[in-house]
């Protein structure tokens, strides 16, 4: 296929060289396919039911939200043309675009959003994203293109919550059990690309939606290719069979600098909205003691992890926000590597090596625990290995266990069956982290799985989400970060940079604070560089 199409292209080029040259300057051209490599296969293509990034990657191209973040991280309209927030902050009125059709031709209306909202708050719907929608007091559509949402109390993250999670085609799903339908494997959305086929274990194929309301994407096809192994995927990319993939820090620093790579690819680096942490199960009596958590924080050399795991492509995390965003508080307590201090704190907490076996003990029990993390994430496994080695030096024996992602989340994290975990949060752009830190959010499937409870943090979280004024909110979130730094319910480890490589034949890529793929429907390949041409 590859060779054949290249030949065909060459012939074309010889015959019409001037036209082709002209085209590149004259603007974007239609055609070609982008092949995106992924380690994970999507599980289901309905945003509200998906909990893995692979599913969201693909579903995000098929579905739209009412609002979205633009490239500079400000909220902007998507399916909603405009909106008004009432002065008391309790009512949002969305004015929807009138030119939007589902990919099967049926017009999109406010009823679809109401249907999606009802589905997401239905207790039978297995979704992790209910919380924001339970805040809604009332929702109604005075006409097909107007949606009014009312809240009981002011809710700062309200607007941002109307992304693509609660938008579903009512005409296709009404009266059906969403978990039992085939829709999750054959979705129909409003987005720039529409679903073509899903070859299990291999790829998901999407094609341009000619009726997309922002205009048909230039690319004909989007292929989400599943290659479960990062190294193999990289080899495929070098064989020019993958056009876009995430890079590991090693690949970024050491494997992408030769002439070949520079000719065929471009690489991009931008701060990710995510951080990685070591979380303790605070129900465990050993980790209930703050001194023990602080000691572990002192015993872990975060610079070493940043260097060894990320090759310096990132920064040290100090709390649950990332640098260069407005809620980030740079002046919180830090824990530089200090094993002496760690030993001393542990001694205060009653942990000493009384029997001389090199392992600390208390009441006759040695200090050992298991760090659980997910399989396949080599960065986390390396982090765990470094922590294991450092903690051994102060007399704590650590075991590492890796579990496949779905099992890890469903059976261990959700059921609180862990002593310590290494995990990451990708953080939303609104600073509200009620779900993660509030003491009421410790139930099964809820996100405060470590069981953190601090009345002052609870209060600040409550205030923070009920306030619209940024300066005032900032005060609350700054204080939360101070408390968390002192409490160390997590040892905050690092904020990684996102590292991506893209084939150099794609044009229209505009790196922005939000990343690069936000405008993929505007990407194009000049005619003479197109690789995948349809054979008539």
């Amino acid at each position: 296929m590859k060779r054949f199409s290249l030949l065909l292209l060459a012939a074309f080029f010889l015959l019409y060289p001037s036209i082709n040259r002209g085209q590149e300057e004259s603007g974007p051209s239609y055609g070609d396919t982008i092949v995106v490599g992924s380690i994970g296969e999507p599980s289901i293509l309905i945003p509200m039911l998906a909990s893995d990034s692979a599913s969201h990657d693909v579903a995000g191209l098929i579905f739209n939200g009412l609002v979205k973040y633009d490239k500079d991280l400000t909220l902007t309209g998507d399916l909603a043309e405009s909106w008004e927030v009432s002065p008391d902050g309790l009512t949002i009125t969305f004015h929807l675009r009138k030119d939007v059709k589902w990919q099967d031709g049926v017009p999109f209306t406010a009823e679809d959003v109401i249907f999606g909202y009802k589905t997401i708050i239905d207790p039978r719907t297995p979704t992790a994203y209910k919380e924001d929608y339970l805040q809604v007091k009332e929702i109604h559509a005075p006409d097909p293109y107007t949606l009014v949402v009312k809240y009981e109390k002011p809710f700062a993250p309200a607007l941002a919550s109307w992304g693509n999670l609660p938008v579903l085609p009512k005409h296709l799903l009404e009266g059906k059990d969403i978990t039992q339908t085939d829709f999750g494997r054959h979705p129909i959305g409003t987005g720039p690309f529409k679903f073509v086929e899903w070859i299990p274990g291999d790829m998901v194929v999407l094609e341009a939606n000619p009726g997309y309301f922002e205009g048909r994407p230039y690319l004909d096809r989007y292929i989400y290719k599943v290659i479960p192994d990062q190294a193999t995927m990289f080899l495929e990319a070098k064989a020019l069979n993958i056009d876009l993939m995430g890079l590991t820090p090693i690949q970024y620093t050491r494997q992408t600098n030769d002439a070949f790579f520079k000719k065929y690819f471009k690489k991009y680096r931008f701060p990710a909205f995510a951080y990685t942490y070591l979380g303790f199960n605070l129900r465990d009596p050993r980790f209930k003691d703050r001194r023990v958590r602080q000691a572990i924080a002192y015993a872990i050399d975060k610079k070493e992890i940043l260097q060894g795991v990320l090759f310096g492509l990132g920064s040290i995390a100090t709390g649950p926000y990332v640098p260069n965003t407005w809620p980030y508080n740079p002046n919180v307590k830090r824990y530089p590597y200090n094993p002496e201090k760690a030993r001393q704190l542990l001694k205060e907490a009653g942990w000493e090596d009384t029997d001389g076996d090199g392992i600390l003990d208390k009441d006759g029990r040695p200090f050992e625990f298991t760090i659980l993390t997910n399989q396949g994430n080599s960065l986390r496994i390396k982090t765990a290995t470094i922590i294991q080695w450092r903690l051994a030096k102060i007399g704590i024996r650590v075991k590492i266990r890796t579990v496949e992602w779905a099992t890890f989340i469903n059976e261990f994290v959700d059921k609180r069956r862990f002593e310590a975990i290494i995990l990451g949060w990708s953080i939303g752009l609104d600073p509200d982290q009620y779900d993660i830190w509030h003491s009421s959010k410790t139930g099964e499937k809820e996100f405060n799985f470590i069981g953190y409870s601090n009345p002052e943090v609870d209060e600040l979280l409550e205030k923070g989400r009920r306030t619209f004024d940024i300066e005032e909110r900032k005060k609350y979130y700054y204080r939360i970060q101070e408390i968390l730094a002192e409490d160390q319910p997590y040892v905050f480890l690092y904020v990684p940079d996102a590292l991506v490589m893209v084939s150099s034949r794609f044009r229209g890529i505009e790196p922005a604070p939000i990343g690069i793929t936000y405008n993929i429907h505007k990407w194009y390949v000049p005619k003479r560089l197109q690789r995948y041409v349809p054979i008539p």
């Binding site: 192994d229 990062q230 190294a231 990289f234 080899l235 590991t248 090693i250 050491r254 494997q255 070493e304 260097q307 060894g308 090759f311 399989q375 080599s378 496994i381 390396k382 290995t385 470094i386 294991q388 080695w389 590492i400 266990r401 890796t402």
Partner: protein, 283 residues
């Protein structure tokens, strides 16, 4: 015409003439040596992390280079030899004992006993061993003990079939008839007369078995469901090698080579032993 010699001396005289076999023997003995004296031989602590020397190519300081956490590959491989040796011998020990006993019984007695044993062999052979091992490990926990036991319990069938085949043909031979007519008991015939003559293929098979066990362990570890890190094993060093195959050839090359040489050693040794004891080769 022949001088009277003890079988052992005869064996040794023949064995040492075979240079390849001796080479195999030396490889295997060296492995034992390395495994036993690992703490004294390894230049570094195999788990010593050093982020300032990540993925260094081989040098005087690190003859086999360093891995992605800056650990010394040579030291990790020396400790990995222990795993390899343990898995190989324990697993094959289990397999050979089961295989010889069942094969001998089946071949010698024939009839009902034979069909029963062979049905069991068929059953075990019909389940793809690697699947069986993976399934068991999915239900249990990946640990070195589970791996040794599972490999052993799933790899005796080849030995059993070979032993049975040998017994089937040998029991009709004149020397067995002669022993029987002289009133020798079943056990005596099985273990004194037939088994020694059936040992050559068993030995070859056992040696291939060690090789197989070493390969299986490395494959499991390579897939991440064998020996768990940070315990060093050749297989899991190779996993890191796979992730960095383009930039850190030493991470793949040395452990792969170690596996290759080890298996080669067992094979050469086994074939050498076979050649040296097989009376049919004596002319």
């Amino acid at each position: 015409m022949e001088r009277v010699e003890t079988p052992l001396r005869l064996f040794w005289r023949r064995f040492k003439r075979n240079r390849l076999a001796v080479a195999g023997g030396i490889i295997v003995i060296s492995l034992f040596f390395v495994a036993i004296f690992a703490p004294y031989l390894s230049p570094y602590d195999p788990n010593e992390i050093d982020v300032s020397s990540i993925l260094l190519p081989p040098s005087l300081d690190h003859p086999f280079g360093t891995d992605e956490l800056g650990r010394d590959v040579l030291s990790r491989m020396i400790w990995g030899a222990r795993i390899s040796l343990q898995v190989g011998f324990v697993a094959v020990g289990i397999a050979v004992v089961i295989g010889v006993v069942l094969g001998a019984i089946a071949g010698y007695y024939g009839g009902m006993v034979d069909s029963l044993v062979m049905r069991f062999v068929d059953i075990m052979l019909s389940i793809p061993t690697f699947f069986l091992i993976l399934a068991v490990i999915a239900f249990l926990e990946p640990s070195i003990f589970n791996i040794m036991a599972v490999i052993g319990l799933t790899s005796w069938m080849g030995v059993a079939r070979l032993v049975r085949a040998e017994f089937l043909s040998l029991k009709e031979r004149e020397f067995v008839m002669a022993a029987k007519s002289l009133g020798a008991g079943d056990m005596r015939i099985i273990f004194r007369h037939i088994l020694p003559n059936a040992m050559a293929p068993v030995l070859v098979s056992a040696v291939l078995g060690v090789a197989g066990a070493v390969l299986t362990e490395s494959a499991l570890s390579f897939l991440g469901i064998g020996v768990q890190p940070p315990t060093p094993s050749w297989g899991n060093i190779l996993t890191a090698g796979k992730d960095n195959i383009e930039i850190a050839w030493w991470l793949s090359f040395f452990p792969g080579l170690a596996i290759l040489v080890t298996v080669l050693g067992y094979n050469l040794l086994g074939e050498g032993i076979r050649d040296a004891i097989d009376p049919r080769l004596r002319i």
